[in-house]
């Protein structure tokens, strides 16, 4: 790896170069809703020890399989709730810093 500044060949029109740090136009404008945490719930599916067993069976299917099929609906429900609760915050264009919990970088 090299940090030779000559490697850059920046295009000053498209990407104004800034010495010493990534300031530029910059920013990430993070926005956070507590409802977003629901998106973590489906990850519980990765804990295999909870469901890696044969019984109880459903329609002859071992628990391991039907439990994971049920989780398809858990995943859908979580994403749907986040969608529904954040739907109307779609365009806070002019008031970026007034109703947001997030901070720019």
């Amino acid at each position: 790896m090299t940090t030779d500044p000559e490697e850059f060949e920046p295009d000053p029109l498209r990407h104004p170069v800034d010495e010493g740090g990534p300031k530029g136009v910059g920013g990430s404008d993070l926005r956070f809703s507590p409802w977003n945490l629901l998106l973590l719930v489906p990850l519980l599916m990765l804990i295999t020890v909870w469901y890696n067993k044969d019984s109880p069976r459903l329609f002859g299917m071992p628990f391991f399989y039907w439990f994971q099929f049920v989780y398809v609906f858990v995943g859908v429900a979580c994403v749907w709730i986040v969608y529904a609760t954040t739907k109307h915050k779609g365009r806070p264009r002019a008031d970026v810093n007034t109703d947001e919990n997030g901070a720019t970088r």
């Binding site: 940090t3 910059g26 990430s28």
Partner: protein, 553 residues
């Protein structure tokens, strides 16, 4: 070729030709003012609504290869093959928010590829080039594998010749695909995806209702499958290693493979193409809710691997290599259990299912080549028109390359490459996905992390043998923790737990990126400037700052 099933072949051919006609006609479908621009040819005019996006992205992510390979994996190994379900369930909650940010920033700045975004965010040409090359290299074998899916079907119908003549039908099918993609761009797979997915849904639903009733119910199917998976190997006498449940060693591999694959999927250029072609954030949000319907279908399809075990399906011997082709088990199951005409419909569904992702992948690879290599390094003054022309030809070259891979090299080579592809595309996560949230990581630190993740990943994959197939190298993606060595130090010596290689090297990649960033910031090393602004990540359809679609310059 005397044992061709003519009913199956005729139905397959009729549907295939009908779809090809749609592909050529698609150029006129909802067309914009010009086809000579990547926004139009490569992204379908950036205006697809909810339904089109659902079929397009569904057809893009759930490929023909997935549909034959996942049941084949379950057929051979049991529960481990079922990782495809958790993989595609956790996928949407994970990508829900980042995908929206990627769409917005790309729409404001007119980005066509993930490497375009990296170029804008970091102003580091080397980093953008690395991302573009990684994307192309990871996509190429994926396209070749679609041919493997198509060939599995043709072989079951009875077209199973050796040499060039045996591959002729495959070659013709891909040539037709290449021509209509050349003409219609992304509109062709978008339109064809409707037919493909409706056929697939019908076939799978019929299969999972009809087959268990014929084979004695799911209970009997699972019990028989368990017996056969654990039965001793007739030649070696060793007990079978498969099971309908996970064992204590492969649970970590199951979870990390699902997580790693889910993190990787939307880093693939063809997934990004599907996302960027949509009209707005709301279309994407609704799709993240509706796409798991395909996951459910994939889970059902995986179970057909057990149905095939119970029905005593034998994989067809590949006349070209003389070995059994495991990917033929679902086609053979359909061939044995269904009437000829319905099997023909099922084969057409899989065959057309190969065309949709192959088209989108070749378009995505062509976009990367054009935007991030051709325009960046070869012809910096390329006009939008010459970009579109370059991309059309690139898509043709990419597809011919994929056919050549299958014709002249053992298909196993493509399968190995695709395994590697999943690991290497995951190494672009810090540069592409994390960059959507923070610009803190230094662009040269990301290059360092990429080099480490890539190098170590390839080294680890090279060292994994596969006792079942007798391969010494690239035998799989499951690393036994005992073998994990960090400069000679074995932190988990003696452990028999298995973990996904891609996941291990991603952690190393991230660690290196963070440490090098701290060093570079402390030494005030110059970093490129950021061309994006915070509000860009929230822009939506109808906003004033969106870039004009297909502008003349």
């Amino acid at each position: 070729m005397s044992n061709i099933n003519w009913t199956e072949l005729i139905i397959f051919t009729v549907l295939f030709v009908g779809v090809a006609g749609m592909g050529f006609w698609a150029a006129k479908w909802r067309s914009g003012s010009t086809m000579d621009h990547l926004d139009e040819w490569g992204l379908g005019g950036r205006k697809f609504g909810g339904w089109i996006t659902w079929f397009l992205v569904g057809g893009d992510l759930y490929t023909a290869y997935t549909f034959v390979a996942v049941p084949a994996l379950v057929f051979g190994a049991g529960a481990m093959g079922f990782f495809a379900l958790p993989y595609t369930v956790i996928l949407y909650p994970i990508v829900f928010l980042p995908v929206l940010r990627l769409w917005s920033v790309s729409r404001v700045h007119g980005y066509v590829t993930p490497a375009d975004f990296v170029r804008g965010r970091y102003a580091n040409r080397t980093l953008a080039l690395l991302i573009a090359i990684t994307g192309i290299v990871a996509t190429m074998p994926y396209i070749a594998l679609q041919l493997v899916g198509l060939e599995a079907v043709l072989r079951t119908i009875g077209i199973n010749g050796g040499g060039i003549a045996g591959h002729l039908p495959l070659f013709i099918a891909f040539l037709v695909l290449a021509l209509y993609t050349f003409k219609s761009g992304l509109r062709a797979p978008a339109l064809i995806a409707f037919v493909k997915d409706i056929l697939i849904y019908i076939v799978i639903i019929v299969a999972v209702i009809y087959l268990p009733s014929k084979l004695g119910g799911w209970g009997h199917i699972f019990d028989t499958a368990q017996e056969k998976l654990t039965a001793p190997n007739p030649t070696t006498g060793k007990p079978g290693t498969g099971s309908i449940l996970l064992n204590s060693n492969n649970q970590l591999q199951y979870a990390t493979l699902a997580l790693g694959s889910a993190l990787a999927l939307f880093l693939y250029p063809h997934s990004v193409t599907g996302v960027l072609a949509s009209r707005g954030r709301n279309v994407l949000k609704k799709n993240m809710i509706a796409l798991p319907a395909y996951s459910f279908l994939l889970g059902l399809l995986a179970l057909l691997g057990y149905a095939a075990l119970t029905a005593g399906v034998k994989p067809i011997i590949n006349a070209a290599t003389g070995k059994g082709d495991g990917n033929t088990i679902v086609p053979v199951l359909f061939h044995n259990e269904f009437s000829d005409w319905f099997a023909g419909v099922a084969f057409a569904a899989i065959g057309i299912g190969a065309l949709v992702p192959a088209a989108i992948m070749s378009i995505a690879a062509a976009n990367l080549w054009t935007r991030n290599i051709y325009k960046e390094y070869i012809r910096k003054d390329a006009s939008p028109k010459s970009e579109a022309k370059q991309a059309k030809w690139a898509s043709l070259v990419v597809k011919l390359g994929a056919v050549a891979c299958i014709l002249f090299i053992d298909p196993q080579f493509s399968i190995d490459l695709q395994l590697i592809g999943g690991v290497i595309i995951l190494q672009t996560l810090p540069t592409v996905a994390i960059a959507l949230y923070t610009r803190w990581l230094h662009s040269w630190a990301l290059v360092a992390g990429w080099v480490v993740g890539m190098g170590w990943g390839l080294l680890l994959l090279y060292g994994i043998p596969n006792p079942a197939s007798g391969k010494q190298h690239f035998g799989g993606s499951a690393l036994t923790l005992d073998k994990l060595s960090i400069f000679g130090w074995h932190p988990w010596a003696g452990s028999t737990l298995q973990i996904y290689v891609g996941f291990v090297v991603l952690i190393a990649n991230l660690l290196v990126a963070v440490i090098v960033t701290v060093i570079l910031r402390a030494t005030k090393t110059k970093d490129g400037a950021d061309a994006t602004a915070g509000s860009d990540y929230h822009a939506d359809e109808g906003d004033a700052e969106l870039k004009e679609i297909a502008p003349a310059h």
